[in-house]
Amino acid sequence: MTDDTIYSQILDDHYREPRNFGRMEDPDVQVTETNPTCGDTISLFIKVKDGNLEEISYVASGCLISVASASILSEKATGSSLKEIRTMAKSDVLKNLGLKLGPAREKCALISYDALMKAIDRYNSS
């Protein structure tokens, strides 16, 4: 392992160019989630159409893991039905990262997932 191959190419890439990064005008739901381990926050925005996740965006002041994980998640989730997304497990998210994480960093990886699930629940119950 050299200094450059600590995080995978994919992670590095998503961190350098996070997809769907930014605030959203008129979202259907906005959720802000905090990581108690470090005080990091993510604000996540969704637009829903016909039961499908039409659009998703977020701003995150997080670490590489949390930003890359949010970016990957946002790509996977866009266009899928809320129902389908809601069945995603935490382990799926971790698998997508292709990196073994310890318990503290798992929380970083899962903050966007938590925010998205909350957003969907909030959309469904409104």
Binding site: T34, P36, C38, G39, G102, A104
Partner: protein, 419 residues
């Protein structure tokens, strides 16, 4: 017996000293000995992964956190609970203090709590403190020294204001094993919160929190082969989420501002500051040790021992010996509490042997180490008509020959001290 006592003793290095000095340790209700496996788990943590938990994202920090989390899971499943239902505390006492201090704000401060007379001070004084602090009312119900607590005992004390009942599953002085699942069920039908002091049950018999129908349950690691300084408060997620935090500080918060704070999720909400990490790891190793033996076997071994003890008592028929607790081994733990007393004259000599002297003499004469005093159960002790008793209590490394030595010691003491 399903337990090979000699084999078990080989796991406990302190038995080298016990053999050398001729010590028979019979104070297991106070604390138990530690097998090599527990001490090794602690040492291995110190020498390989020692670091703080929760926040380190470097290697040994993640290792420590994993060991700590695994310990919680392992201990939780041992009593049929989920990981997030287990709060790590110092001991059963702290667990009961969290319950008593925090429930008044859940149930309302004009509520009543019922406890029994056979409770350990740790299930009495916290409620008195809560009474002083928050105004709740504490009722101590009576119980018979040779019988389990019954629903009728409780019913007599129920009022509309009763919102909490807190009982020990096993008395540390009478050895009574209370049958709590049926009681828990009825309490739940009435919407009453059920707190269980399991300090003397979790170490000695299979305990399943769901079958017990309890909301909160307390036990200590040091009474079940684990280290001291670690214990657990089990609580249903519902109760734990509704209770306010107990202590404030690091680890238990989500965010802190100049004027306030938000709490972390349970169970961390109740774990302020750096926890006893190696304590949790040691207790988990103790649980592994007990699981290998099997809690059914632990219980049947101790049942055998108390049965044998009661038989020996009759066989020896010592003139001054009086013991307490149920005579039916099915509802009796491996706890034998007694006095040596013949009559009652003004002066002490010749009529009775003070429990301190029994304990001192038993040790000096035959190496038998037993406890004396009120065993932190003064109301029950006073109800027995005295201020102090002596107590022998067994665990997995005790055998019938220990009981023999014990009675041999009592016989010698009677000879020496009773006129």
């Amino acid at each position: 017996m399903d337990i090979d006592v000699e084999e078990i003793r080989n796991h406990f290095p302190i038995f080298e000293r016990f053999r050398r000095d001729g010590i028979v340790y019979l104070d297991n209700a106070a604390t138990t000995q530690k097998p090599r496996e527990v001490v090794d788990a602690i040492t291995s943590f110190y020498y390989n992964s020692n670091s703080n938990v929760h926040r380190g994202v470097y290697r040994i920090g993640e290792e420590a956190t994993e060991l700590y989390n695994h310990s919680r899971e392992n201990i939780a499943s041992f009593i049929g609970a989920r990981s997030e239902e287990i709060v790590f505390v110092r001991n059963a006492t702290e667990a009961l203090n969290i319950a008593a201090n925090n429930l008044p704000d859940v149930v309302g401060r004009d509520s009543e709590v019922i406890i029994s007379r056979m409770e350990h001070h740790s299930n009495i004084v916290p409620w008195h403190l809560a009474s002083t602090r928050y105004g709740i009312r504490v009722k101590m119900m009576e119980n018979l020294p040779d019988r389990q607590i019954t629903w009728e005992d409780i019913e007599k004390n129920l009022t509309k204001k009763t919102r909490i009942v807190s009982l020990s599953q096993c008395s540390n002085i009478l050895g009574t094993i209370n049958d709590l699942s049926a009681i828990g069920k009825r309490l739940h039908e009435l919407g009453i919160i059920f707190v269980v002091d399991a300090a003397q049950s979790v170490p000695h018999m299979p305990v399943d929190v769901k079958k017990l129908n309890c909301d909160l349950l307390a036990f200590s690691g040091h009474k079940m082969l684990g280290p001291s300084g670690i214990g657990c408060l089990y609580g249903t997620s519902e109760i734990l989420e509704n209770m306010p935090p107990y202590m404030g500080g690091g680890e238990m918060i989500r965010e802190v501002y100049e004027n306030g704070f938000t709490t972390a999720d349970v169970p961390e909400k109740f774990e302020a500051g750096t926890p006893n990490i190696e304590g949790a790891i040691g207790l988990s190793a103790a649980v592994d040790f007990l699981k290998r033996i099997g809690m059914d076997n632990v219980r049947s071994h101790e049942k055998e021992l108390i049965k044998y003890t009661l038989e020996k008592e009759e066989e020896y028929a010592l003139e001054s010996l009086h013991s307490y607790g149920p005579r039916n081994p099915d509802i009796r733990a491996g706890i034998y509490t007694f006095q040596m007393k013949k009559g009652d004259s003004g002066k002490p000599y010749g009529n009775y042997v003070h429990p301190h002297d029994i304990s001192h003499l038993a040790d000096r004469i035959r190496g038998v180490e037993i406890r004396s005093g009120h065993h932190c159960a003064m109301p029950q002790t006073v109800a027995l008509g005295t201020y102090a008793t002596a107590r022998a209590s067994f665990y997995i490394y005790n055998g019938k020959e220990d009981v023999d030595t014990f009675f041999d010691a009592l016989k010698a003491i009677e000879k020496k001290m009773i006129a």
